[in-house]
Symmetry: C2
Subunit: 237 residues, 2 copies
DNA sequence: TCGAAAAGTCGTCCATCGACGATAAACCGT
DNA sequence: ACGGTTTATCGTCGATGGACGACTTTTCGA
């Protein structure tokens, strides 16, 4: 039943396009670039055969450039997770000639434009779900450094006193960052908001952060917490 | 080489434990419960054979209760994504006898305790990455309803005027919610913060929200945005 | 207690998937 | 233009992985 074509053809089917030979580094770079796109869309369980089709090469060829699939995935992480962040963004953040609000907007516009994109978010989430420690550990260390700078500069420019506790400083930063990252996830993964809505939301998050920072930086945090805990005692969770 | 045990045993190896027959509904419920745990850990590509081992039944039996793997996964979504949220939480949120801050804390303590757990987060992210529309659409509609209530009540109790625009109300809510959800992800997926740190972070997010809300609700949003846009014109992204 | 219905398993089919040895085609210096 | 080197493909192997027909064991009511 399988159409095996018993015609007298003895020659193999000719290639439509002749083989193109690329130099080692070029081919490797091309495969890696395609692999980033491919695995970000189809997940880490995407098939090497499908990736090969996307690259326009035979599946066997992948194994000339990467010892196995895991090695290829490691390269994908290294290339696609860590690289997009640019520390130079933090330099401009401290430039007192521009109003703080605008600097923050610009910083997060850059961060969102390079990091919080569909590719990055999907790869990052896939690898995090797979319990791969490298991407989340690395990205988190970047973000912690980044948030230290963001909060420190914002507090300085607002004339607010930073909390003594470094952990409290980071908490404030993560509050801002969480709002923006979840916006990115809703934008690029769930696709339930469009680009304009995302920008408005990011700005809203920045405004919220700037509005709250002076209040949150007041000397006595016990004033904020004590009455809350007092009341919560009588409340069933 | 393979130890095939050429002893004279002609009988099949006896079962260690005798078969237990469960009634249809019980077995089905048991499989579903294990499936939720299983797929949340190993992802949607987890194997039915492994799930069967986890259930202590043969792989074939799964197909008595679910027509195929996709149908089983749909049941898992229905059971594990939508159910944990309890609308009654919103009722207590409006109880003016308790200070607003405490009600919000309690509300998010409940939400985190039932929804933002490892199981839920992992299943939700897996299905979102797989572009399965059901879980993200459903969960998002819940969250939008919920945030409407949260922001409305908070504004009322603070004596702040709600923005005319419903979208702006939701943006304010998502700013709070994003911070808390990303905290949950860092807690349960990346596992880079512990439970105590997560609670402090959630409280910080609530405090930030409450501190910013009166400022954000001031009548003229143009006062906040106009100068920012004026400056951003001359800034390269 | 016995027999039929319900619950459960065994073994297998077939498509898929990572991996790789053998071989062919393109490239390049001389 | 030719021969060695590099690039690339063909074809296949063994392990998985979802699905299911045929069969066995347990259960329970008459």
């Amino acid at each position: 039943m399988k159409a095996k074509s018993d015609s007298l053809r003895t020659t193999k089917p000719k290639r439509i396009t002749p083989r193109r030979h690329l130099r080692y580094d070029d081919r490797r770079a091309q495969i890696l670039e395609k692999a980033i796109l491919f695995f970000s869309e189809y997940g880490l369980t995407g098939q090497t055969r499908h990736l090969a089709v996307a690259c326009g090469v035979s599946q066997r060829l992948l194994y000339r450039y990467f010892t196995n699939k895991a090695a290829l995935l490691d390269e994908v992480y290294r290339e696609a997770i860590a690289k997009p962040f640019d520390e130079a963004w933090l330099t401009d953040l401290g430039d007192a000639a521009v109003p703080l609000h605008n600097r923050l907007r610009q910083f997060y516009a850059r961060y969102s434009g390079s990091v919080l994109q569909r590719r990055w978010l999907r790869l990052f989430l896939y690898s995090a779900l797979a319990e791969n420690p490298m991407p989340s550990a690395y990205a988190d260390s970047i973000v912690n450094l980044m948030l230290d700078v963001v909060v420190r500069i914002a507090a300085r420019d607002l004339g607010a006193a930073l909390p003594q506790d470094v952990a409290e400083v980071r908490r404030l930063g993560w509050t801002l960052h969480g709002a923006i990252v979840l916006g990115g996830i809703r934008r690029h993964i769930y696709r339930i908001i469009d680009d304009a809505a995302w920008q408005r939301e990011s700005e809203c998050a920045i405004d919220t952060f700037l509005a709250a920072l002076p209040v949150m930086c007041r000397p006595a945090p016990s004033e904020r917490r004590a009455p809350a805990e007092r009341h919560l005692d009588g409340v069933a969770a």
